[in-house]
Assembly symmetry: C2
Homo-oligomer: 387 residues x 2
C-alpha cells in the first residue's frame, strides 16, 4: 500500500448556522480545503463524505452525489460515497479516503464530514441522535445519549477515583482551548463553578458536561505521499488508520467504563505506526461528554485506568501540559456536528503539525492522534498523523 | 492492487417480511453467505453494509456496528462500515469491500445490503425514497420517483422509437425470470395486458412498470484471489469495479434520457476489464422502472440509443436471448429493498457464473455484469465478474 498525506484542510465555523443549508455548509468547507491545497476541483478523483443522519435532520439521503453535484463536479462523474457510523461518520470517511489512496485506486481524494442539526426541533434532534444507539433496546425504552453517558459516568465514579470537580475541569480546559479557536461554537472560557452550577441533564452530567447541537462541515484533501509536494510544502503523513467495533448497546459490554473499541483501535494504530502513547504530542479525543474524554485518555493508553481525573486536574492534558488533549476545544467547545467531528479532528491536528494553530499552538508538535467515537463506543476510528 | 474474488453469497427471500426485523434480515443473509463460503464468523476481517434509509424506515442509524454486533462479531472488534448512496448503496458497499481487499488492508470481507421498508406506511416510504432525489428542488415541489422516471420515459418516447407494448415487455420478461427465482417477491408470470391494464401511476408508467416496496437483505464474501481456493472450488473474480456520479436532479442533466453516470461507469468498467459489451454473457441492470432497463441496456453499450425497445420485443434480452438482462427478475420481480439490491445483483451473477441458477441458468455463462443506480442516475456502480 502507498503512503498517504494530507495536502489541504478546511472547516466552517461551527455553530447554529440558521442562514446556511446542509449542502452549502459542505461547499464552504470543501472550498477552503481546495484553496488550502491549491487543488482545482477538476483534479479531484473521488470523494468520501461522513454524515450521520441527513435523512432525519433534513430529509435528504444520497449525500455523496448531492455533495459532488454542488461542488460542481457532476460533469466529471467522480465517485462520491457517503459513509455513516453515527458520530464517527467523519472518522470513517477519512479512513475510506485513506484506503482509496493507499490502494492505488485514486490519487487526489476529498474526505469530508457535514451535519446540519438545527433544522429540526431539539426534541427531534435528540431522538435522531438516539438512532446512534440501539433503537430497540435503548431508544425505545427511553435512553438518550446524555442518559447513556450518565450511566457510564456513574459506573466509572463508583469504581475509580474521579471527583465532580475533576470532571468539570475537562470542560473548563476545553472551553479555554475553544476560546483560542476561531471555528469553535463556544468562544468563552468557563470556570469549574460554571459547570457545577449549570442545570442537571442526567445525573451526574450537567449542561456544561455535554457537547452541544451544532451545524458545521470540515474537509481534508489526501494524496499519495509521493505526489504531496506538488501541492504543498507542508504535507502531513497518515501514519496509521485503525477502526474497531463493539456491541451497540452499553449494557451488553464486558465493562461499561472501558470502551473496548477504543482500546482495540488505539492498540492497532500504535502497532501500525510503530509508536507508543509517549510519542504523541497532542490528541483530539471524542469528548461528547466530559466523562468520554476521561475514558478516552485511559483507553488509548495515555495513563492507567482511574488516573485521567487526576491527570486533568494537574494540567497534564492542558495546552501546555505534557500530553495536550483536545487543543481544538473538542466536541465540548467546538460543538459537535456529528458527521463533521471526525474530520474536524484531523483539521486540528494538521494545523498543529504545520505550526499554524495560533494561540493554541503546541510547540514542536510532530505527531498527533485523532479518536472519533460512534454512539457509546460501538464504532471507534483512530488515526495517527505526523510530519 | 490485488485481484479479488467472491467466495460466498447469500440472500433472504425478498418480500413483505412483517415477521422479520431489519437486523434479523441481515443476519439471515449473512449466515447464508458464511455457510456458502464455509467461512466462520471469526475469520471475517471487515464488513461493509449498504443501506439507504434505516434512519427513516426504522429510526436506526449506526448500521455497521449494529450489524457486526448482531452477527456475533462485537468481541472481535472488526471494522464495520455503512455506505449510503440511495438505491445504489449495495453496489457501493460491494465496491468499498473490493477496494479494502484489493488494497491489501483486509483479507476476508463481507459486503452486504439490507433494507426494511414495510415498517412505515406507504406514503412515508414514498417520501423517504424521495430523499434519493434532491429534497429541495424535486421532493419539496412534489416530485416522487415514479414521477421523475415518468418524465424520463416521456422524454425518451418523444425522441426515440419505443412503444408502450415494448416497455411492458420489460416487465413481462422480468416476471418470467422472477417466476424462476426462489428469492423473488413476485413469482407470477404476467402478460403485456397485465401491464397495460394495471393502474396508471405516473403517465406513461403503470403499476406493473414499477418495482415494489420490499424487505430483504443480501450478503457476499470477498477474499484475495490468491486465497480464494482455501474456501471454495468456484471462486468468481471481480474483473472491474467502477463508480460514477451525476447531478442529483433530473432537470439539471445534459440529456435526461441518457444516464451519463451509467455511460461513464460502464466505459470505465469495460476499460479496466479489457472487455466490450460483446464479451458479457448476462447483465443485471437497475430496472426500478421499466424505462430504466431500456436506458441501461443502451447506456451500457449493449445497443445504440433508441434500439432497446425493439431488442426487448425481439427477445434478445430474454433468458435465452443473446444478452440476457435481469435473469434474477430484476428489481421489478425480485422486489427492490433499496440497500440490498446492488448486492442481490452480485448474488445473481455469481449463481449464474457458478452454473447454479437452476431454471434461469444462462448456459455457459462466464462473464456477468451488474449495474446499480442511485436516484435517477446521480450515482451508478458497475461491476464485471468472471470465472
Amino acid at each position: 500500500m502507498r503512503d498517504v498525506a494530507v495536502i489541504g484542510v478546511g472547516c466552517t465555523p461551527f455553530g447554529e448556522k440558521w442562514e446556511t443549508s446542509f449542502r452549502h455548509l459542505f461547499i464552504e468547507a470543501g472550498a477552503l480545503a481546495l484553496d488550502d491545497a491549491q487543488v482545482a476541483g477538476e483534479q479531484i478523483d473521488a470523494m468520501y463524505v461522513g454524515n450521520m443522519s441527513a435523512g432525519r435532520f433534513v430529509e435528504q439521503e444520497h449525500i455523496g452525489a448531492l455533495i459532488a453535484d454542488y461542488a460542481g463536479l457532476a460533469s466529471h462523474h467522480i465517485p462520491s460515497t457517503r459513509v455513516e457510523a453515527a458520530c464517527s461518520s467523519g472518522g470513517l470517511a477519512f479512513r475510506q479516503a485513506v484506503i482509496a489512496v493507499a490502494s492505488g485506486m485514486e490519487d487526489i481524494v476529498v474526505a469530508a464530514g457535514v451535519e446540519k442539526m438545527t433544522d429540526v426541533a431539539t426534541g427531534a434532534s435528540v431522538d435522531t441522535l438516539a438512532g446512534a444507539a440501539d433503537r430497540e433496546w435503548e431508544g425505545f425504552v427511553g435512553a438518550t445519549f446524555p442518559g447513556l453517558y450518565a450511566m457510564l459516568a456513574t459506573d466509572y465514579m463508583h469504581r475509580y477515583p474521579l471527583t465532580r470537580e475533576q470532571l468539570a475541569q475537562v470542560a473548563v480546559k476545553n472551553h479555554y482551548n475553544g476560546a483560542r479557536n476561531p471555528i469553535a461554537q463556544f468562544q468563552q472560557e468557563i470556570t469549574i463553578d460554571t459547570v457545577l452550577k449549570s442545570s442537571l441533564v442526567a445525573d451526574p452530567l450537567r449542561l456544561f458536561d455535554c457537547s452541544p447541537i451544532t451545524d458545521g462541515a470540515a474537509a481534508v484533501i489526501l494524496a499519495p505521499l509521493e505526489r504531496a509536494r506538488e501541492f504543498t510544502d507542508t504535507p502531513v503523513r497518515v501514519l496509521a488508520s485503525a477502526q474497531a467495533s463493539d456491541t451497540i448497546t452499553l449494557h451488553d459490554r464486558r465493562d461499561i467504563s472501558t470502551l473496548d473499541a477504543t482500546v482495540a483501535a488505539g492498540r492497532k494504530a500504535f502497532s501500525i505506526a510503530g509508536l507508543t502513547p509517549k510519542d504523541i504530542n497532542l490528541v483530539e479525543v471524542h469528548d461528547c461528554f466530559t466523562i468520554a474524554e476521561i475514558c478516552a485518555i485511559e483507553d488509548l493508553g495515555f495513563c492507567k485506568k482511574g488516573e485521567a481525573g487526576k491527570l486533568t486536574e494537574d494540567g497534564v492534558t492542558s495546552l501546555h501540559g505534557s500530553i495536550p488533549v483536545n487543543t481544538s476545544g473538542g466536541l465540548k467547545a467546538c460543538g459537535h456536528p456529528v458527521g463533521a467531528t471526525g474530520i474536524k479532528q484531523v483539521y486540528e491536528v494538521v494545523q498543529q503539525l504545520r505550526g499554524e494553530a495560533g494561540k493554541r499552538q503546541v510547540s514542536g508538535a510532530k505527531i498527533g492522534m485523532t479518536h472519533n467515537v460512534g454512539g457509546t463506543g460501538a464504532t471507534v476510528a483512530v488515526h495517527i498523523l505526523g510530519v
